[in-house]
Structures are given as structure tokens and as C-alpha cells.
């Protein structure tokens, strides 16, 4: 289980290396780093504050990791998500999957990002010239998450 929720930044190179260290059956590591953008909905964003629900956040991220491990043959999974006040260009999140097979690593990593976007209890508030505003959930994020639901007969 490798879920971390923290205010501090993280070292992407060290984290990715640790996912395969000592396990030479890993053929590849797919990852995604999410960053704070300086523009949203056409408005300049000078900072972003991430609120979260301590306890539930870790619980939901762990459930998403468990689901990924059940669906794909993974040698390692890592999710690090920051909270607190961040500036444009700052890292927000790292999701990474190590596998013997590159398709499994890519799919599982993309799945982690799509599901955590709609399931992990974080809320973004942006600072713009017009004042602070809460980010609204995006319909495209719901659709991206729904791609991964298993069809039941």
C-alpha cells in the first residue's frame, strides 16, 4: 500500500525509482504528475488551496489502489496527493504504476488518475483577480471515470 496525503512536495525521480528498486521483474513504470495551472476558465489563477477530508482521503485512495491491483498485474502502485496552498507550476499529485507489461502500467495509471479525480475527497479553491472561488466538478471528469466502470449484465 503506497498512499500518501501530505502538504510537502515530493521527489518524482526518487519516488519512481523506489517503485522498481530491487524488483527486476518490473518492465516499466507509467506515471502522471498533475500541476497547478496559472489559468482556469479564462481567468488568471495566482494560487490554489486544496482542502481535504483527513482519514476519508486515505481510505478512498487505498480503495482505488486496491481496485487497480485487482484489475491489472502490478508490481507497484503509488499515489501521492498534496493539500494546502499551492502556486502555479507546483506539483499537486503523482500517480504511478510499475508492471512487467507496459499496457498494464499505462492503463492502471490512467485509471488511478480518473478515479481519484471523482472519488478522493479534495476540493480546490482558486485565487483569481475577482477573488477566491471554489472549482466546480467537471462533467468530462465524470465521463473519464465512467469509462472504467465494469459493465454488469
Amino acid at each position: 500500500m503506497a498512499i500518501r496525503v501530505q502538504a510537502e512536495d515530493f521527489d518524482v525521480g526518487a519516488e519512481l525509482a523506489a517503485l522498481s528498486d530491487g524488483n527486476p521483474s518490473v518492465g516499466g513504470v507509467a506515471s502522471f504528475v498533475g500541476l497547478v495551472r496559472d489559468i482556469a476558465g479564462g481567468d488568471a489563477v495566482s494560487a490554489m488551496t486544496l482542502e481535504h477530508y483527513p482519514g476519508m482521503t486515505e481510505r478512498q485512495l487505498a480503495a482505488i489502489e486496491a481496485e487497480a491491483r485487482a484489475r491489472w498485474p502490478l508490481d507497484g502502485v503509488l499515489i501521492i496527493h498534496r493539500h494546502g496552498r499551492l502556486l502555479p507550476g507546483d506539483r499537486i499529485v503523482l500517480a504511478a504504476c510499475a508492471s512487467a507489461h507496459r499496457a498494464a502500467a499505462f492503463e492502471a495509471c490512467w485509471f488511478l488518475m480518473d478515479w481519484l479525480k471523482t472519488k478522493a475527497p479534495f476540493w480546490k479553491q482558486e485565487e483569481t483577480p475577482a477573488g477566491a472561488r471554489w472549482v466546480a466538478a467537471k462533467r468530462e471528469d465524470d465521463q473519464a471515470a465512467e469509462r472504467w466502470y465494469k459493465r454488469t449484465p
Partner: protein
């Protein structure tokens, strides 16, 4: 029963957390929201659109028909926007 509020629900209601003792006929999460709305205009306003109020009980997502128990930790919050 402990209730947590997050993001703009927290800001509108004006508190992050409170202990409440709803009447005995508040049996489900839906009942709880209806009862909270009756507590004053800030609650009524914050909870007016149930489509944007997500509910978790003991840190798991639940629907509005979820039964409540005395020691539950209930959280109300807008759709999440992390990642």
C-alpha cells in the same frame, strides 16, 4: 452524531464540524439533510440543491436512503475536485 462540512458547504454553514442530536424520526441520510435544512436559513441555503451535496457515512460514500446509527461520522460536501 458528528457532522463534518467541507469546501463551500463548510463556508456557507459557517462551521467545519458539529455534534447534533436529531430527533428519533431522522432515520436516514436524506432525513438528516431535511432536518438540517429546518435549522435556519444558512442551512436551508447551503443544502438547497441536493444534486450538489455528496454524503459520506464513516468515510464511505452513501446515498440519501442510508440508515443512520448514533455514533456515525456523517460528512456533507460538494462534488470533489482533486487530482
Amino acid at each position: 452524531m458528528r457532522i463534518l462540512y467541507f469546501a463551500w458547504l463548510r463556508a456557507k454553514i459557517g462551521t467545519a464540524e458539529e455534534e447534533v442530536a436529531p430527533p428519533a424520526d431522522v432515520a436516514t441520510t436524506g432525513d438528516l439533510i431535511t432536518w438540517l435544512q429546518s435549522r435556519g436559513p444558512t442551512y436551508a441555503d447551503a443544502l438547497a440543491n441536493r444534486a450538489v451535496v455528496k454524503v459520506a457515512v464513516n468515510q464511505d460514500y452513501v446515498g440519501l436512503d442510508h440508515p443512520l446509527a448514533a455514533g456515525d461520522e456523517v460528512a456533507l460536501f460538494p462534488p470533489v475536485t482533486g487530482g
